[in-house]
Structures are given as C-alpha cells and as structure tokens.
C-alpha cells in the first residue's frame, strides 16, 4: 500500500471477533470490521460525512479497556482484541437504542419514512419491544416547521445524530442548520430558531437524503397529484428530469445505476397522466438560449468593449445554487444566466405552446414535474414563475415520491414494458441527458457553442468532452481554444474559453470566493448544488453514498452514448418550436417565457 508521498503505510493487525485482520494505520475499528464483513450497526455515521461518534450505537468491547469505544471514531492499534457482540456490548447497545426511542416520537405508522427509517430498522433488528424506559416525548415541547414549500422539519422525530448539521456545514458550506441549547434541551435548529424559509437554507435537500429518521423530509404533493389525475376536467402533463430515470429503480428494488427510462414512462402512463413528456426537451432549449446568451455576452465584452457586461456567466439550472448565490453572493446576480431552469421553461411552455398546439385551455392543464430535487419545489413556488399567466409548474414531485406513487398503484415496476415519451416536448438528445451530472451543462453547451461559432463539430472523440466532466468533491477547470471561426464570430478566433465546473455548494462557495477576490478568471461557470450534480440531488432515492452516485453517473453517460442525437441544436422538436412559436433564441417570446430575474437576499 502506498500513499501519495510514496511512503509505505504501516499495517496494523488486530483481532475482531476472533478473526485476525490487517489494515492501514489510521483506519477505524468500524472500517476494519467491514473489511471482514462483520456488520456493526451505526446511526450517526455516514460515508459522506466526517465522523461524529455521538450516537454511540456502534460501540464495541476492547479487551483490557474498561469503557466501550465507538468503533466509528476509534482508530485501530496493534494487537487490539475487539468483540463486536459480547454480552456487555449487546446490553449497552440495547440501552442506547432504547434511549433514542424514548426521546423519539415513534408513531411509525404516521411517519413518511415508515419502512425506510434507520432507527426503525435498528429497533426491529434488536427487538426492542419491551420499552424499557419512560417515554420522554410528552415532556418536550417539540415543534414542527411546516412553513417551507420544500422541506419539513419535525423535531419530535429528531434523534440529534447531527448528520444534517454536518451535511449543511461540510458538504454544502451553508450552515443553515446548527446545534442549539444543551443537555435535555439540545436540538437541531436554525439561526435564532427562525423557520427554514426565513434562513439561508437553499432547500437542496441533502439533509433530507441523510436524515436517518423522519425528522427532515420533503413536503410531499402526492395526494394533490392523485386528485388532479382523478379530476376528469383536468389534463395532467408530467415532465421528468434527466437524473430521475437513472435512479428511480433504486427505490423500487433495482440496483443503483440501472437505466429505467422506458419503464418509468410506462409507469407514468399507467398512473393516469394525460401526457408523459421529457424535461430533456427544455434542457436542450436551455442550451440554445444559454449558449446564445454566453455568446452575446462574449461579443459585448470582447467586440463592443461594453464595461457593464457581466462575465463570467454562471449557469442557472440548479435552484439550490440560485438561492445560495442570492444569499451569499448577491453582488454576482448579474453574472447568472437569465435562463430559467429546464423545469420552469417547460412549465411556461406547457401552459402556452403546448396548450395552443393541443387546443387546450391552460386553466384546465395541471403541470407536474418529477425531479431529483427538493429545491425545485421552492423554485416552482417563486412568484416570478408565472409567466404563462398561471403557475407554470403546479406540483413538483421528487424521485422518491414517484416511487411511492408507483407502489401505491400496485405496479410491478420491473415487469413493465419499455415505452416512449409522448411527442411534442418529448424529444431529447444526449446533450440533455447529461444535465443530470456535474459538468453536463457545460459539455452540452460547448457541443453547441463550438459548432455555432466554427461551423464544425467539437474536436473530441465521440463528442465526449471529458475535460469538463466534473468529479465529486473537486472543482474542475478546463479551457477550450476556439480556432478558425465563421466570419461573424471572428472576434472569438484564438480565444481560449475558460470554464469551471463545481458541484456541492461548499465548492461553489470556493469558486465564487476566488472570482470575487480576483484570483480566478473564467468565462463560463457551471454550478450544481448537489454532490455529483442532479444525480446526487436531494430528491433522489435514499440511501446515498459515493459508490451509488458513481453508478448513477456511469448510467447517465451510457444513456448519452445510446442517443442517436447528441447535440441540443439538432433536437427536431427544439428546431420546430423556434420555427412555430419562439422565433429565434433570445427573442421577444423567449424573454417573456424562458428568462427570469433574481432576488438579492440577506444572510440573516
């Protein structure tokens, strides 16, 4: 074993449950046990986060040591003898789970997480049926924050593992959630205990993805959608985001990384939606609008020497990122692309273009979207998202909510046949599919922009611009030299287009800080609020970890490669809509329906 400095890492040998094992120095007992396939139960531990060691569920017995160390936080040492299931451990662990249950509002049948709650899982594993201790729930005056359109926080179900706090702080750099008070009053709270909608929370939902219980959940709109479907006067249109089709299967018993596009369409049709359409269509449209916007800004900056033009331009597809920049870097709102996200473009077009073509009255159309995201719920409720004259997107469901609906309808998902999206706003390209992963918008935009400017395809094998394909946990910078342009783009000849791709808000913060301090110079910034991009979104199936997200990413690129059209500007329906309805990119109609503005917000 070698580390980066090329020094040999010392091996430590220890015994766990009578089995000898040798692991790298610095590893924990938990990691060593996992190497032996010994399952030590955990609760506050999460692969994506730093070790907290505060739930104490993962305690083990170490010979010659009086106390029982938490295996997630205890590094291995030479000659250690560990027992993971001794009498002492079993009793203490049972006590700990019982204690957690005693302060937890365990009315499981009323809980949204019933069946997938980790505490419930532990309780059933340990058969804690006898309720050894007193119920502490009535003594605490727990509150429920249900004022937010995206996320609901129920303190009575919170077991204070602080996974959400660590997620918000480490992964996202937002710190909307923190620990307040101490002792019996200790709780997870926000700045001055304001409701979530009044604080810096970006609604990214990463905390929801990691909450082991039902303390943090998305606000679900399942019943409203069923009501709309059953209403004979309503025409219910559904759109599905690129990252949903590669993850939905996980919530329905399929392995991570399984592409289920056809089955998902089939399921949506069986649920009773009037039309099953594809957000990919507006993803392609976004590329046309955003690409042209970038070129316009570059022209203003390089040719017209306009001092007021805002460069670098940043993508605006990720609503978590939008709310983050509104709070944290409001001075950079001019740098955001004015393009709405694909979801909102879609919503606006459903109630205008689609209604016109289908001869429907927009007031009878209900527009539903299936998103890998919780922030989209907030986005759909923004006051400016009503350019069709109606609420552009009526209900946003997460991937998880769709899975619940499929289960409710009793569909055997695996055996459904593959079906196709309905036409008119249902066609997509490979460029749209990769919107679901970090670097995807950048890659899709470059595929189009380069061709617009030079008249030639982007010079990479298979159109795969691997240099901008972001990796989780890193900021990726890349540059693309533009050569031999068409005459009207002469000013771009020889320009090196500088791009940066970041995922996870902690990294976004770093990129923006560098831009603000003048340390970094870019033309184009792509930011996705969630780790790995939308595929790791806050509305995706639980659990999540790096392994699962990597598989989802592979599936997305697989889907891209399998598409016959790989460039947004070649999407036939996109070409059609410009001809029939929008006119030309950045035209009057586009501005009215596809572009938006942003609101500066305060940190506190």
């Amino acid at each position: 074993m070698k580390n980066t400095k090329n020094e040999t890492i010392k091996q430590i040998s220890l015994t766990i449950d009578g089995i000898q094992v040798s692991v790298d120095e610095g590893k924990t007992i938990l990691e060593a046990a996992r190497q032996l396939n010994i399952h030590i139960p955990t609760l506050c531990f999460h692969e994506d986060l730093c070790v907290a060691g505060n739930c104490r569920v993962c305690i083990v017995e170490q010979e010659k040591v009086k106390s029982l160390p938490a295996s997630c936080a205890m590094p291995v040492s030479e000659g250690m003898v560990i027992h993971t299931n001794s009498m002492k451990v079993r009793l203490a662990r049972k006590h700990i789970v019982e204690l957690l249950l005693s302060e937890h509002n365990a009315d499981c049948t009323k809980c949204y997480k019933n069946g997938i709650c980790e505490l419930q899982g532990l309780a059933s594993q340990m058969l804690t049926g006898d309720h050894m201790f007193l119920d502490l729930v009535p003594e605490h005056k727990y509150s429920i924050d249900m004022f937010n359109t995206a996320i609901i926080k129920d303190d009575s179900r919170c077991i204070r593992c602080q996974r959400c706090v660590r997620t918000c702080e480490e992964l996202q750099g937002v710190s909307a959630l923190g620990v307040a008070y101490r002792g019996n009053y200790m709780k997870i709270s926000t700045f001055f205990e304001h409701p979530l909608f009044e604080v810096v929370c970006t609604n990214c939902g990463q905390c929801v993805n990691r909450c082991p219980t039902g303390a943090l959940i998305e606000r679900n709109y399942i019943d409203q959608v069923w009501d709309a479907i059953y209403d004979p006067t309503k025409h219910v249109v559904v759109q599905t985001a690129p990252a949903v089709r590669i993850a939905l299967g996980e919530s329905l018993g399929l392995p991570p990384g399984k592409i289920v596009t056809g089955k998902m369409v089939a399921a949506l049709k069986r649920l009773g939606f009037s039309a099953v359409l594809d957000t990919d269509f507006t993803a392609d449209l976004t590329i046309i609008e955003e690409g042209n916007e970038l070129l316009t800004r570059l022209k203003k900056a390089l040719l017209d020497k306009d001092p007021n033009v805002c460069l670098p331009m940043a993508t605006s597809c990720s609503p978590g990122w939008i709310k983050f920049i509104e709070h944290t870097f409001p001075e950079f709102l001019g740098n955001l692309s004015t393009c709405k996200s694909p979801q909102q473009m879609f919503g606006a077009l459903v109630k205008t273009y689609y209604c016109q073509k289908r001869k429907l009255d927009a007031k009878n159309v209900v527009s539903v979207s299936i998103m890998p995201c919780t922030a989209k719920k907030f986005e759909a409720n923004r006051p400016e998202m009503r350019s069709s004259g109606y609420k552009d997107v009526d209900y946003v469901l997460t991937t998880r909510e769709l899975a619940i609906m499929i289960k409710q309808a009793g569909l055997d998902f695996e055996s459904l046949p593959d079906e196709h999206f309905d036409s008119l706003m249902g066609a997509s390209t490979g460029a749209a599919v990769i919107f679901g992963t970090t670097g995807g918008v950048m890659e899709a935009a470059l595929r189009t922009v380069y061709e617009v400017v030079t008249g030639r395809e982007i010079p990479f094998e298979g159109l795969n611009i691997t240099a901008v394909r972001g990796t989780e946990g890193e900021v990726r910078e890349a540059s693309l030299k533009i050569e031999k342009t068409k005459p009207e783009w002469k000013f771009l000849d020889g320009v090196e287009l500088k791009c940066v791709v970041a995922n996870g808000l902690a990294h976004a913060k770093k990129v923006m800080q560098d831009v603000k301090e003048g340390k970094a110079h870019y033309h184009f910034i792509e930011i996705m609020a969630c780790p790995g991009g939308c595929l790791g979104g806050g509305g995706q199936p639980i659990p999540t970890n790096k392994d699962i997200r990597t598989k989802r990413k592979q599936a997305i690129y697989e889907e891209d490669m399998g598409m016959s059209i790989r460039k947004s500007h070649e999407n036939p329906e996109v070409q059609l809509i410009y001809k029939e309805f929008l006119g030309h990119p950045l035209g009057h109609k586009s501005h009215e329906l596809l572009h938006t503005h942003y609101t500066p917000r305060k940190r506190y």
């Binding site: 104490r56 009793l91 005693s102 302060e103 502490l136 101490r182 200790m186």
Partner: protein, 388 residues
Amino acid sequence: MSDTKLKRVDLIFGEYSNVKYKVLEDTLKRSTDEILEDLLESGLRGRGGAGFPTAMKWKYTAQAPGEEKYVVCNADEGEPGTFKDREILTRVPRKVFSGMAICGKVIGAKRGYIYLRGEYKFLLPDLNKELTDYHEHAKTIGLDFLIEIKLGSGAYICGEESALFESMEGNRGEPRNKPPYPTTYGYLGKPTVINNVETFVNVLMIMRLGPIQFKMLGTTDSRGSKVFSVSGDTPIPGIYELELGMPLDRFVDEFGDGDAKAVQVGGASGFCVPRKKFKDTVIGFEGVPTGGSMMLFNSSRSMFNVLHNYLEFFEEESCGQCTPCRVGCQQLRKGIEAVKKGDKKSLYLDQLLKLSESMRLTAKCGLGQSVANSFSSIVYNFKEEMIY
C-alpha cells in the same frame, strides 16, 4: 481530639520565596530532563480529579511532533462544591504563572492560556494586573512565555479538556472524540498540556522543595497534599490543605457536625460514601479520588433530594451530543421520580443502575461516564430513601 487532628499542610498558599519569581528563574536554569525527572520522582498526579501522572503528560507532549505547542491552565472550576481554584488564583497567582512557565519550558511552548470560569469574571482585574507584572518580569529575565486569560461562559462541560479547547477556539463547547489526546492534538490541533490550577502550583513547589520532601506527604499512590473545599453540614466550611490518603472517618471527625450520614467526595460526579463505610474509605487515588470537593450531609438531609439535584444538574449541563448522556440523564431523573411516586416498582431502580453502568461504559466524555458514580453510590447505599 487535638492529638488526632489531621495534619495541616501549607504548600499551596504558603510563602515560598522572598524574591519575586526566584524559584521560576532557578528552575529555568535547569535542564528539561532534570525537571521531568524530579516530577516523575515526586509522583505528582493531576489535581483536577482524574489523577493522570503529570510528568508523563508533559513528557508525551514534549515528545509530540510539531513546533507550536500550548500550555493551558484549566480554571473552569465547575464541579459543584469546589471552590479552591478561585482561592489559589486570588492568593497565589504567581505560583500558577510560574508553574505554567516551567511547563512551557519543558514542552517547548511559547504561549499559555488560563481558561477562567465565566462566573469568576470578578477575578479578572486583579489577575490581569498580576499578569502584567509577570510579563514585565519575564521580559527582564528573557523568558519567552506569554500568558493570556480566556473567559468561559458558564458551561460545566467546558471543564472537560477537549470541550474546553473547542470553547477556546470559539466553537460550541462539545467534547471531541479521543484519541487523539491533547498531548498530540489539543488547542488549535496542536500538542497541548492541560492541567488543573493546583497542579501547576504543585509543580512549582516540587521545584522549590525537591521531590523527596514532597513525597514525604501522602501515600504511595497519592503523593503530596491536596486543597479541599469543605462544605455542607459542617460547622467549619472552607478551604483546607490536607495530606492525601487520609481515612474518611478522621476527616468526618474533624469537619462533621457529629451527625454526618454521608460524604459526597468529588462533587456531583464523585462518589457518595455512607457512614458505615467512612472507616474503610481512603481519600486518594487508591481509594476515592476527588478534585477537592467534600460535601457533608447530616441525617436531616434527604438523599433522594441530593441525587435528584445532581441529576437535574447533569441533565442541564450535558452538552447533549451523545445519546447515553443526553437521554440517560433524563431517564435517571425521571426514573427515580417515578419510583418515588409509585408509578414504577422499586425493582425499576435495578434497571436504572444497569442503565447508569451503560452510561459509564459508553458516554463520549467524562461527564456522562461519571454520572454513574453518584447515581449508583447513592442508590445502592440509600435505597430505602429512594423508594419511601
């Protein structure tokens, strides 16, 4: 009575030199190894309560890799019934500063901090004046060791060493996972020696008198003397410096009001010793250790109320991060209430005793681990008071 009187010691508060900072100056001339050898020979163990050998702590920190190291004096005297550090800092602050400076020399630290309990804010003006004097003196003798006072905000948990560092760094006062220990990862993640106020004074006195004379006091396991804070049902409450290793019955003879039924040794996190065990109990690391608190209770006191009071204290002062401590304390308090009211059968006390044992084994830090000390010692010895 007078011939059986416990020997009074005057190491901590007594005069030690006519010339200001003379002992410090003399000690600084000695080599680090010599100082450590003397400390090791003296058998000094930390005076905060846990009793870790001071020489070893210093040695490990001295050996820890890293340029930047710190000395921290724990003056967050929060244990109920302890008030000796306040007195030490009021009467002999120079001895404390000197002890810290010696530590700085041994481990190679240039900065020292005194983490002063928030409630002791009133000591600040005098301490700062004394510190200015120390810094001037340090300049004249060419000593590169600055001391700064950091004020706590009133949390008991911040007396726990790693929570104390977190608090000093401006974070929420929550204990860290250990290992790593402060000897390698302390304040700001740097190797740090953290000792109780009294320990630093003891170090200085060992330097002054030599380890042999220090060792003449106390017992094999508990060398030297200790400042005790005596309170409760006693006609003579106050601060007394006594030899370690004394039998508790002699202590009670001298300080009790003649009707003592129990002594709580070591504050809320310590042990309760009932009358029948006074004779066999030794105050020291071989018996019942204490950070200084000695609380006497006479027969007019309800041990249920005493325990209830302690549990309420722990319930509130737990930082709340780990399950056994946060929820366990609430269950213990509610549990004894339920037994007293008759809502739970008296057998439930056995469940609670097992729970407190689990807390001792699994809590993240000393606070949660030591709740079982007072809980089990009071419940075992005064069971009938818990039930009826």
